[in-house]
Symmetry: C2
């Protein structure tokens, strides 16, 4: 297992700069008043392909030799990594295959295809996903870019908090959603090097709380196919992300489905930005745990904005 270093983050930042946005940081005085804290929202929903995963995917794709790149890339992904890998592969002009659960949002499948990638469907469980994926790789010889348990991907995600630290001085804490732990690991990698006093929190749906349970148990606990509106956060930690989470995360906070949808709608209404449910989990955790964040300057990573606009979680039927 190769553990990426901060030098890898710096190299990634140079490599991906032409293909990703330096995303803005937004604030809301209304939400600050509700939270009793000063929140700085790092808007990766405004990133290329609508998610921070464009960073890690671009780093993996553009780091390949021409010979490896020619065989294309492949991944399995509950959504954003797949379409971001398709985006990056499209920018390099190489093939991309994404294995996706058949239950993934139609908007995400369409987006993978929109960037030129091929979608192969599997059942909505980690085990089915991995089995179908093995077939795809055997057949194509494509380079596997794991959604998070990959040093190239983690180094790419680490460029986000490097930007954030340059945009907002004197942060007390940063909070990001945790699914497989790629963004949290990149945040740990970068901040432990450039701003080691900043506390790092992760936020997770209570209905998919495997990372929180892993954190308390001291070893990885994986659930197969939990159900949550935050569809980007269903996957388990793996060895590389666990390495960073167990060393650098202060706490993992969990929130209910209702709290996620309420925080999501609050962000749409007050901040005028489209965030997907996973991206609302950190704000939900802040509002649920005011004592943890009161009076603090907190960076909040908004991880993505890919939703099906015809099926919003507050619209019944």
């Amino acid at each position: 297992m190769y553990i990426p270093t901060f030098d890898d983050v710096l190299a990634a930042h140079d490599r991906i700069a032409p293909y990703v946005h330096k995303t803005p940081v937004l604030t809301s005085s209304t939400i600050d008043a509700m939270a009793g804290a000063k929140l700085f929202f790092k808007c990766e929903n405004l990133q290329k392909a609508g998610a921070f995963k464009a960073r890690g995917a671009s780093n993996a794709v553009f780091g390949l030799s021409d010979a490896d790149a020619a065989r294309g890339v492949a991944t399995h992904s509950s959504g954003n990594h797949g379409l971001c890998l398709s985006y990056a592969a499209g920018r390099r002009g190489i093939p991309c295959t994404v294995v996706m659960p058949r239950t993934a949002p139609q908007a995400k499948k369409d987006a993978v295809r929109g960037y030129g990638g091929r979608v192969v469907e599997c059942e909505p469980s980690t085990s089915s996903r991995e089995a179908v994926f093995a077939e795809v790789v055997a057949e194509s010889g494509a380079e596997f870019v794991h959604p998070y348990n990959d040093p190239r991907v983690i180094a790419g995600q680490g460029t986000c908090s490097r930007e954030l630290a340059s945009q907002v001085p004197d942060l007390d804490a940063v909070i990001a959603p945790i699914g497989g732990g790629g963004m949290v690991s990149g945040t740990c990698l970068t901040l432990s090097n450039i701003a080691p006093k900043v506390k790092i929190y992760a936020a997770e749906p209570a209905q998919a709380d495997d990372a929180a349970r892993s954190f308390r148990a001291g070893h990885i606990i994986a659930d197969d196919a939990p159900e949550t509106v935050a569809d980007g956060l269903k996957v388990p930690l793996k060895d590389l992300t666990w390495h960073f989470v167990q060393r650098h995360v202060t706490d993992i906070l969990t929130v209910s489905e209702e709290e996620i949808v309420e925080a999501m709608k609050l962000m749409w209404k007050r901040m005028k930005i489209i965030v997907e449910p996973s991206s609302a989990v950190p704000l939900a955790a802040i509002l649920r745990n005011p004592d943890v964040f009161r009076g603090k300057r907190v960076g909040v990573v908004i991880t993505g904005g890919n939703v099906d606009l015809d099926k919003l979680p507050w619209m019944k039927g």
Copy 2:
């Protein structure tokens, strides 16, 4: 009639700086490809109170003497000016009354009250609005801040294109929606002084095309209560805005209701920002008139993001 000057814009910018955001400029390579142009979206939907009108309203409110301010401010508004005036009055701690059509979106009425203002309802016609408003002013002695036909308001709106010009070099054109013409007038005032080669376009719903008809006729034509999904654009030009429009606007382009909703959904989907229907009118006009904008660098003013999230125009029933 006092015609505001560029010095008024500069004074406004200093006066309102503590109360408004310098909003970001966003781009979308997908939408650029569709338009065949390079579009720079000035995101006033991310402005305080969710609309550019926070600029003009703040300039009017903070320019009042203490004695005048103590009697409060009042206005009539189809929406964003009302809530932005309420926002600015709240920041100064003075009373604010807003006369609104009873058919205005509930979200906008709630927002006026949320910032501490008082809502008085009228019928959805310009004539009813003006009659009810006269009663309000007679009773309270409040300072009238017209939504657009007011030099303080126009000077405040002019700060938006001053920012845009500093954020994006070498623009060929700027396009903004036109209702009463406050934003367009502010844009004309500023750009005719600092970037006179930039062409200024206005965009308007075909179902509320009084400004386009006025522009062609050479005099103001006012419609009473036209119907359009772009509810911020129903009001007519007045003498002060007509002054700027007739002198500095290159053309006024009109679009259908379907084109507005389609452009709005496109912006939500690809840019991950919440824009109200009025704000989608310029993009709809660009997509409808590719020959006008092809190969150009175009500033597109996104005027606001105040929508009722439970009633989106692409959701039927």
